[in-house]
Amino acid sequence: MSTHTEITHNHAAGDAGEHEHGGTAVNVKTLVALLILTAVTIGASYIDLGNGNVVVALIIATIKASLVVLFFMHLRWDKPVYGIVAMAGFLFLGIFLMFSLMDQDTRNYYLPQNVHRTEVPLTPGTAPASLTEILPDTSTPATAAAPGSAGSPAAASPAPPTPAPATPAPAAEKK
């Protein structure tokens, strides 16, 4: 609540009491800025930027979050200790996120045989498609039926090498 900034502000400006920090005008401006940024982020989502869409959305969200924290939550004027606590939360979240994404993004570089996992997840429905891509010889049912967990849909349609006919099989299997 009390900061040197505020004290000097009151002395310098000689404002009446209601104009401590924030005040109605600042709150209205913050709200308008937040609403404009919401419109911007909705508008930006209609432009196809590929992976950039997520980045743009997160940057705008972070600007909005900063406005909320600084002006609505009064960190702009508060004692620094509250800001430090809040930043500690974000810092540890950042560390958590960074290492998780580093793990996720670099896995396949070092395990080339697992590259297909990012494109085609190992699920009952999609396993036959990926197996036909990896294994050139799909005529022998023994190889297709070999993997235990993904075995049943693969065994259900071992003959067709194209993934299209394989689609009804998992759909039928799904209860």
Partner: protein, 233 residues
């Protein structure tokens, strides 16, 4: 009760004398009202930091699963209705504004204005839940449900676990956020009652301030939830 000077209880340097001592809200184990206020506020911020970590873990999990099932997630995103998410964003932003106005009014001894803005905030919270109700019922009807409950048909990768995973995260994160909104309604009503009873003044408005902080963090979480769920297609 002077409204012209800013002698809040928390003002170091000046205005300390006369306040705190004799204030019915002043607890004996705090030296001053300022110390009492700062202690409560620091505790609230520590709680808010754990809230960031609570939702942060879910965001990280969501990101990892999005990387694992990119096609299913993008397809599942299209099942969410943009205008409903946008409307809820606007509702929450407005409610954050009314909340900060309520705190400001409480700080300035304006009981009527405080009640007015608190009622508006509560109405916004209910509006948010009404939109959420329509969203959820649509998902229930279509079978877009989490995990093993998923029974929607017509996916482009039939049988993939990606869709059920997406909706597990969707319901977990928006549901947990919705529970926070419900808790917020309870807290706001409690604050409203105490305001009506005239318990707050410029020397003591700590609960209003702290509930305000809570309400803003709920808004802040939605600021991230909204683009990540509704705007990625």
């Amino acid at each position: 009760m002077s409204t012209t000077s800013v002698d809040l209880p928390s003002h170091g340097g000046h205005g300390e004398h006369g306040h705190g001592l004799g204030d019915p809200h002043h607890q004996h184990h705090f030296a001053t009202m300022e110390q009492q206020f700062d202690t409560a506020k620091l505790g609230m911020w520590l709680f808010l930091a754990t809230e960031i970590l609570l939702f942060g873990g879910l965001f990280v999990g969501f990101g990892l699963m999005q990387a694992r099932y990119p096609r299913e997630f993008v397809e599942a995103h299209t099942h969410l209705v943009r205008w409903q998410g946008s409307l809820n964003t606007v509702i929450l932003l407005i409610s954050s504004f009314t909340m900060v106005m309520a705190v400001q009014s409480a700080k300035n001894n304006k009981k009527q204005k405080t009640s007015f803005f608190l009622v508006l905030t509560i109405l916004c919270a209910f509006g948010f839940l009404v939109v959420k109700y329509f969203e959820y019922s649509h998902k229930f009807e279509e079978g877009w449900l989490p995990g093993k409950f998923y029974r929607a048909t017509g996916d482009s990768i039939p049988g993939s676990h990606g869709y059920a995973t997406f909706f597990a995260f969707y319901f977990m994160m928006t549901g947990l956020h919705g529970i926070h909104i419900l808790a917020g309604i309870g807290l706001l009503s409690w604050i409203l009652m105490r305001t009506r009873r005239g318990e707050f003044s410029h020397t003591y408005y700590t609960p209003v301030d702290l509930v305000g902080l809570y309400w803003h963090i709920v808004d802040l979480i939605w600021i991230y939830l909204f683009p990540l769920y509704y705007l990625i297609q």
